[in-house]
């Protein structure tokens, strides 16, 4: 109890000067301490000051912010030390693992040289010793071929591997504190589990002290001993992880917890399917790159994809990144010409290219992209962005258009004051609403939503999902809703399709995804989503099966074979999996049947 804490922060405040000259406290008298060998999590929405606090531990303030208060790390006190010693602190005693490791590595240098560089710069070890230590860390982080992986270049490795290598780089100098800033936010759930497991193991082995920044309470519950909940730069609650999750004291904590499990108000399922579905995709093959003589693209992505969506229905598409989800949306929108197969709207076959589709057909299918930062033209005001489709599809101009723009803002619950603003001045959630409003301006029958909630915090995500649910109810919109997060898809959609490497491996009603049986890949996706209880990670059943990259396989056998925990030798590796219907109505592409998949 009386062992002095390893990191001690008292009354930390960070103040910035706003453009108009007034002062703003982005972090307000935050105090905490971390015992040696433990991990403290900082959790809150974006803008709550998490990263600012993490950075100020390193004595670093962004854009002229002023740090006040006392920060002690180990036996070094950070107030009043000069910039030179700060640089030493940063790379040596306090290290940082950022969200995007891909951006943090130099693409033109070998991994090992970059990983041991901090040790060499700070002279904590000679090159051979540092190399040896790096390989030990690679092994502890469960990286494939730890002896030789360092010889590779960053582009030869996956995002999850780079994230672990980044952790190795952070641990190489045996720092006092390692700061993890949303280290798994950009990863797929399946990769996230592997990375989290690796982080946990290496932390145990190294006895490292850490600060873990995240907006995901379920992830944090696996990683941290203590949790500090932040909102608007103030501490709302701090407690041990187990206690905080079991008995949250603060309303805000409870709100975060409920946002982690989004629920969209139930929607009466659409009227029994009309004879012709609204949108039907039939046997699509598509890909990128030059097309060869047999009509196959150099980089084939989709093979034999078929889907159908009824009027006012919502179909969810999930799968890991790279599985071809966005490609489906691009084919439907006409942005990518498929090499085979058709897309029909209300029974009418749509032309494969944009130029051949009529304006009316284009109007009825709208696409909304994930990243509102690049989906909205920074040179135009919100009003201009919304007015364009009104004029283009409906010929509305002047006061008429202005009135409709205001209606659209109202519909997406945006204040009418944003009309003259540029998108750069809006918050992430507001941008995504404008993004939706633009699609609504066309008065479409169906909206293709490509990861529209993926870049948002849990709380904002909940609000956008509610909005989507309401729009669907009020306007009778149909959605093709793409996401890598099964909880989000389950909340909004009636039916869900699971994609693996460009094929549809499962298709069923949302309810069918509540309990087994599922396709083994679906099972992997579902069990990889962290649960809101400490110890979930320790109980996680799978050993990571690293996907073997670049293995050519005959196109017939199951594409999931290499990663499948349930695969049967002599069956799965020989014959193509049949399309079978399970007892719960789901159709899956697998050799196993309901009884074999149920447990």
């Amino acid at each position: 109890m009386t062992t002095p804490s390893h990191v001690d922060v008292r009354d930390l405040s960070v103040t910035v000067r706003r453009p108009d000259g007034t002062l703003l406290r982005i972090v307000d008298s935050v105090s905490f301490s971390i015992p040696r060998g433990e991990v403290l999590a900082l959790i809150g929405e974006s803008g709550s000051g998490k990263t600012t606090i993490a950075l100020s531990l390193m004595g670093y303030a962004r854009g002229g912010a002023v740090i006040s208060g006392q920060i002690r790390v180990g036996n070094a006190s950070l107030d009043g030390v000069g910039p030179a010693s700060l640089a030493a602190q940063r790379g040596n005693r306090i290290t940082y693992v950022a969200q995007s490791a891909a951006a943090a590595f130099n693409p033109s240098r070998r991994i090992i040289d970059q990983v041991i560089e901090p040790a060499l710069i700070h002279r904590t070890a000679a090159a051979p010793a540092a190399r040896e230590r790096a390989i030990g860390l690679f092994r502890a982080l469960a990286l494939p071929t730890p002896e030789t992986i360092g010889e590779r270049y960053p582009h030869e490795l996956s995002g999850g591997q780079l994230q672990r290598l980044m952790a190795a780089m952070a641990l190489i100098t045996k720092p006092d504190v390692v700061i993890f800033d949303e280290p798994t936010t950009a990863l797929d759930v399946t990769t996230q589990v592997e990375v989290l497991q690796a982080f946990r193991r290496v932390f145990r082995e190294e006895g490292a002290t850490g600060v873990y920044v995240s907006h995901d309470l379920a992830v944090v519950a696996q990683m941290a001993d203590h949790i500090l909940v932040l909102n608007g730069g103030k501490v709302r609650e701090q407690n041990s992880a187990a206690t905080l999750i079991a008995e949250p004291q603060d309303d805000y904590t409870r709100m975060l917890m409920s946002a982690a499990q989004p629920v969209v108000q139930a929607i009466t399922p659409p009227a029994p399917k009309a004879a012709t579905p609204l949108l039907e995709i039939d046997g699509i093959f598509a890909g990128y790159g030059p097309i060869d003589r047999e009509g196959r693209p150099a980089n084939p992505v989709l093979s034999a994809v078929s889907l159908s969506i009824g009027k006012g229905a919502a179909l969810g598409v999930i799968g890991e990144s790279g599985s071809g989800k966005s490609t489906v949306a691009r084919v439907v929108a006409g942005l990518l010409t498929p090499t085979a197969g058709t897309v029909s709207l209300d029974g009418e076959v749509l032309a494969p290219t944009l130029a051949e589709r009529t304006r009316e057909q284009l109007r009825r299918v709208q696409i909304v992209f994930q990243n509102a930062d690049v989906a909205l033209n920074p040179a135009h005001s919100v009003g201009e962005i919304l007015a364009r489709p009104l004029r283009f599809y409906h010929g509305k101009t002047g006061a008429d258009a202005r009135r409709r723009v205001n209606e659209l803002l109202d519909l997406t619950r945006l204040p009418s004051s944003v009309i003259d603003r540029r998108c750069g001045e809006l918050s992430g959630g507001q941008k995504q609403r404008v993004n939706l409003a633009r699609a609504l301006a066309a008065e479409p029958d169906i909206i293709l939503c490509d990861e529209v909630t993926s870049a948002l915090d849990t709380v904002v995500r909940g609000a956008i999902l509610d909005l989507l649910g309401d729009l669907r109810r009020d306007l009778g919109l149909a959605y093709l809703f793409i996401s890598h997060d099964i909880a989000t898809v389950k909340a909004l959609c009636d039916e869900i399709v699971v994609f693996y490497k460009g094929t549809r491996v499962e298709h069923g009603t949302s309810d069918a995804y509540a309990a087994p049986p599922y396709h083994p890949y679906t099972e992997l996706l579902i069990t990889s989503v962290p649960e809101l209880r400490p110890g979930w990670l320790a109980d996680y059943p799978y050993q990571p099966v690293a996907p073997v990259a670049n293995v050519t396989q005959s196109s017939d056998i199951c594409r999931f074979l290499q990663r499948c925990p349930r695969s049967r030798q002599g069956l799965c590796d020989i014959a193509a999996p049949p399309l079978r219907t399970l007892e719960n109505g789901s159709r899956i592409l697998c050799h196993l049947d309901t009884s074999e998949l149920a447990h």
């Binding site: 929108a333 006409g334 942005l335 944009l354 589709r357 304006r359 284009l362 709208q366 696409i367 992209f369 990243n371 690049v374 989906a375 909205l376 033209n377 920074p378 040179a379 135009h380 364009r388 489709p389 283009f392 599809y393 633009r438 066309a442």
Partner: protein, 270 residues
């Protein structure tokens, strides 16, 4: 605009002030010239500074200040015109390449690569030798010389933008190529393009002055800053103001534009 100017670093403010000064001179110079630029007003050639002739007199006894005020208009005016022409053409072609079919891009890019492999000054010299150097031809030739450079920059900007989601959304909406190029892409290229226009302007000032210095540019009785240096070059030995002042004018014009660009682009990167 004013707000942006206030936030420039000191070097940028100095650059801006000098640039504005020269633009002013180009606009009103001929009206405030104390003498007719062609008139022989001084008995003495290569005279020093005096109350009557602030910058002295030239090799024929004409007033250097008056000739400078008129010459600056030629240099600044022609360069602005040529730079604008070069960048409008280059950027227009670049946008065409970015939104057009693949073969248009291929064709334009190859053509520009070919042109860029000919050194600009040699190209200009050959063209002037072949077609003469009337004011219009001269402007056109100089402009053409700098089209490929601007095309390269603008094309790489435009191709990058064409892949962005907001352009994809507009394309999915069914927008035509003209809309994509002018409404969705061009406004987001303006800032980096301004820096390029500035740079081309500097190159063009130097090229025009160089041509005139070689006697291939503006023909008498018209004279730009380069011609002024050339015709008074015999005064260089005695350090005559008649040769120093126009040379300094060229230097201050080009350096100030450079300062301004540096400051403006740095401010953005921050």
């Amino acid at each position: 605009m004013l707000h942006a100017a206030r936030r420039l670093p000191l070097s940028g403010k100095i650059g801006l002030a000098i640039v504005l000064f020269w633009l002013m001179v180009a606009l009103i110079g001929p009206f405030i010239a104390p003498y007719t630029p062609g008139a022989f007003v001084s008995e003495e050639v290569f005279a020093g500074s005096s109350g009557k002739f602030w910058f002295g007199s030239d090799f024929l006894g004409r007033d250097v200040l008056s000739r400078l005020l008129v010459g600056a208009r030629f240099t600044v005016g022609l360069s602005v015109l040529a730079a604008t022409l070069a960048c409008a053409t280059g950027t227009g072609l670049a946008l065409t390449a970015a939104v057009g079919p693949r073969w248009v891009d291929e064709l334009l890019s190859r053509a520009m690569d070919t042109m860029i492999s000919i050194p600009g000054k040699v190209f200009a010299l050959v063209m002037v030798a072949a077609f003469g150097s009337s004011l219009m031809l001269l402007t056109l030739i100089v402009a053409i010389t700098y089209v490929p450079g601007n095309f390269r920059i603008a094309r790489s900007l435009a191709v990058g933008l064409a892949r962005l989601d907001y352009v994809e959304v507009a394309r999915a909406r069914g927008e035509g190529r003209l809309h994509l190029a002018l409404v969705e892409m061009l406004p987001n290229m303006i800032r980096p393009l301004f820096a390029d226009i500035g740079l081309r302007f500097v190159f063009i000032v130097l090229l025009l002055s160089g041509l005139s210095f070689l006697g291939l540019g503006l023909q008498p009785p018209d004279a730009d800053l380069g011609s002024l240096v050339r015709e008074n070059v015999s005064g260089l030995g005695e350090g005559a103001l008649a040769v120093l002042v126009p040379a300094l004018a060229i230097a201050s014009l080009t350096v100030s534009v450079n300062l301004l660009i540096d400051a403006a682009t740095q401010g953005k990167a921050r």
